[in-house]
Structure formats: structure tokens, C-alpha cells
């Protein structure tokens, strides 16, 4: 019970932070963290297969792709204003 | 003797079998001991075998089993020590850190062995590798008073014994 409440609070906090932070990189890290917490939530909801998919696709692959995208964006910005 | 060696190089059968056995054992563990899905398992084993042959072509390996056991024992004891040490540092009410950066000359030949050394040192007490140069290893040390060089030398010796590599005298 305490576990679920804490998990829900952390989920809400990371989601709000990820949406409102102005720093793109921090938003991506928070997104990854949100994905990992969400996987834990799925595990608590007796859906281990969705937990697996969430961890692999939601946090892992999308996280890495988003990090990659932020890297490209930064590089572009630097090229434009050296 | 020589012709046997040449044959082994042309048809790397032995490493192939060794790897196949390894991957089968891995699959057995992953499937938690039951062979219900062993069709999928067979395909996975084949794919893993092909990938490993592409990424890591079998070379002349002289992995010594006693060396491996020695290395594992040393590694387990030392990493336990490392964890306890860093845990005590983190939980002490007053932080007592004396970090320093040291360069340690390397004696292992270039290649996998050096990478293994750098990565292993990350889990041993108070050391964190931060860059392999051509002649030395740059390390961040948690406590400059600890005998880092002796520890690195010991780890080096264990790795060299495990992989059957010579250590350059310095």
C-alpha cells in the first residue's frame, strides 16, 4: 500500500517535472525515470509483460533516441551560432 | 603438433563447440530449466553463435581455468572490500575524502586485456579508471593514501595469468 502511494507520487512528480522543465536534457532524463517507474507500476498491477515492454521500449529505446535527438539539436544550434 | 595447430586455425571447431555449449547453458538458465520453448531457444542459440563469431572472431586463446578461478576469487573478495569501504565513507557523519588522480604505467599488452583491467578496477576498492592511454592508465582514486599501485599490479598479474599473456618488465 505504502509502496503504491509512493510510486504514484513519484510518477506524478516526474511527469510534471518532465513536462515543465525548460532544459531539454533534464526533460529526457526525467522521461527515462518516468518510464522506469511506470514499469514498476505495471509490475505492481500484475502485468509483467507490459512492464517488460515499458522498460525496453518506453524507457530504453525511446530514451536513447531522445538523447540522440537532443545531441543533434545541440550540435545544430552550435553550428548556427559559433 | 604444428599441423594440428594449423588445422585448428583453418576450421575453428573447438571454439565453436565451446561457444555453442556456453550459449545453450545460457538459454537453459534464461528458460529457468524447462525446454518447452526450445524451438525458439535453438534459433536464439544459432543467432547468438553467428553474432559472436562476427563480433569476436576466435583467435589463439589460452584461457587458463585455474587462472580464471584465481581471478574470480580475488575479484569477489576485493569488490566486497571496495563496497564496504565506499559504504563506510558514505555513511560516516563527516566526509573524509582525499581524492587524487594518478597515472599508472601499464604492463599488459594492448587490446582486450587492458580494457578488462580498466573495467575491473572500477569495482575494486577506491579506484576508478578514467582513460587508457598508450602507455599508462589514468585513474581517479578515492583516497590518495591507499596503496593503489600495488593493487593495480596484483590485478594485472591475475589477468595476465588468466589469459596466458606475458607482462612487460618495467
Amino acid at each position: 500500500m505504502i509502496f503504491d502511494l509512493l510510486l504514484a507520487a513519484a510518477l506524478l512528480w516526474s511527469a510534471v517535472q518532465a513536462l515543465t522543465t525548460p532544459d531539454l536534457f533534464r526533460a529526457v532524463v526525467l522521461f527515462i525515470v518516468f518510464g522506469l517507474l511506470m514499469a514498476l507500476a505495471w509490475a505492481r498491477l500484475d502485468a509483467p509483460d507490459i512492464a517488460l515492454a515499458e522498460a525496453a521500449i518506453g524507457a530504453g529505446l525511446s530514451g536513447a533516441l531522445l538523447l540522440d535527438a537532443v545531441g543533434h539539436l545541440r550540435q545544430k544550434r552550435r553550428e548556427r551560432s559559433p | 603438433m604444428r599441423s594440428a595447430l594449423n588445422n585448428a586455425r583453418e576450421y575453428p571447431v573447438k571454439p565453436l563447440i565451446r561457444r555453442a555449449v556456453l550459449f545453450t547453458a545460457l538459454w537453459w538458465i534464461l528458460a529457468e530449466g524447462n525446454f518447452v520453448a526450445w524451438g525458439v531457444g535453438l534459433v536464439s542459440i544459432m543467432l547468438a553463435l553467428a553474432t559472436s563469431l562476427i563480433l569476436l572472431p576466435p583467435g589463439p586463446s589460452r584461457l587458463s581455468l585455474t587462472g580464471l578461478a584465481g581471478f574470480l576469487g580475488y575479484f569477489l573478495v576485493q569488490s566486497l572490500k571496495g563496497g564496504v569501504q565506499v559504504a563506510l565513507m558514505a555513511l560516516r557523519p563527516r566526509l573524509d575524502l582525499r581524492p587524487a588522480v594518478v597515472d599508472i604505467p601499464l604492463r599488459l599488452p594492448e587490446g582486450r586485456a587492458r580494457v578488462l583491467l580498466a573495467i575491473t578496477l572500477n569495482l575494486l576498492p577506491g579506484t576508478l579508471s578514467a582513460g587508457l592511454e598508450s602507455r599508462h592508465l589514468r585513474m581517479h582514486v578515492l583516497d590518495e593514501r591507499s596503496p593503489v599501485e600495488t593493487e593495480v599490479r596484483k590485478t594485472e598479474t591475475h589477468i595476465a595469468r588468466m589469459l596466458g599473456l606475458p607482462l612487460e618488465a618495467r
Binding site: - | L26, W28, I29, L30, A31, E32, G33, S79, L80, G82, G83, V84, Q85, V86, A87, L88, M89, A90, L91, L95, L97, R98, P99, A100, V101, A118, I119, T120, N122, L123, P125, G126, L128, S129, A130, G131, R138, H140, L142
Partner: protein, 104 residues
């Protein structure tokens, strides 16, 4: 409660203590390098003890070995990653933290 259960209780609690130490290190240590030390060593040891404690309760040999496999994977992952991050930090010129000189 037999001796095996007792042993796994002890192992699990020791593991949790190491996790606590890792988190404390992450929060209290002064710079990236020292935090990497704390994460790589303490957390992996914590996971190791947790895995051992659970493996004693595992339904079969293969299930127990699978837990150990998870641990080995996590070990390799964090050792490699801390090397990569530390190397990049040095390349970027982040100066390691030094304690201020205190007169004895």
C-alpha cells in the same frame, strides 16, 4: 523459520544497507568522480546480496542461476558505464574535487 530463511533475511537486509550507502554517496559526495565510485561499488554489492538472498528461495537451480545472471549483467553494465562517463568527464576537463587545506 529454518536456517535457510534466516540466512536470506540477513543477506537481503545487508543488501538493502548497501543500497542505502550508494544513495547516500550519490547525495553527499562532492563531484562526479566520487559519486561514480559510490554508485559502481556500493550499489552492485547491494544487488549482489539481494540476489544471493533471493536465490536461496528460488524454486530451482536454473531460476537461482538466472538471478545471478541478472547480477553479472548489472555488474558488467555499471563497470563499463562508469569507465565511459569518467573518461568523458576527464576529456571535458572537469576538475576532480579536492578537500580544502586544513591546518592540523
Amino acid at each position: 523459520m529454518d536456517i535457510l530463511d534466516l540466512l536470506s533475511v540477513v543477506l537481503l537486509i545487508v543488501g538493502a544497507a548497501f543500497f542505502l550507502a550508494g544513495t547516500m554517496g550519490l547525495l553527499r559526495f562532492p563531484d562526479v568522480y566520487t559519486r561514480l565510485h559510490a554508485l559502481a561499488k556500493a550499489d552492485n554489492l547491494g544487488l549482489g546480496f539481494t540476489v544471493l538472498g533471493l536465490a536461496l528461495q528460488a524454486p530451482g537451480v536454473a531460476a537461482g542461476l538466472k538471478l545471478v545472471l541478472v547480477w553479472l549483467l548489472a555488474l558488467a553494465a555499471s563497470a563499463t558505464l562508469s569507465y565511459l562517463i569518467a573518461r568523458r568527464a576527464f576529456a571535458k576537463g572537469i576538475v576532480p574535487w579536492k578537500p580544502e587545506e586544513r591546518e592540523p
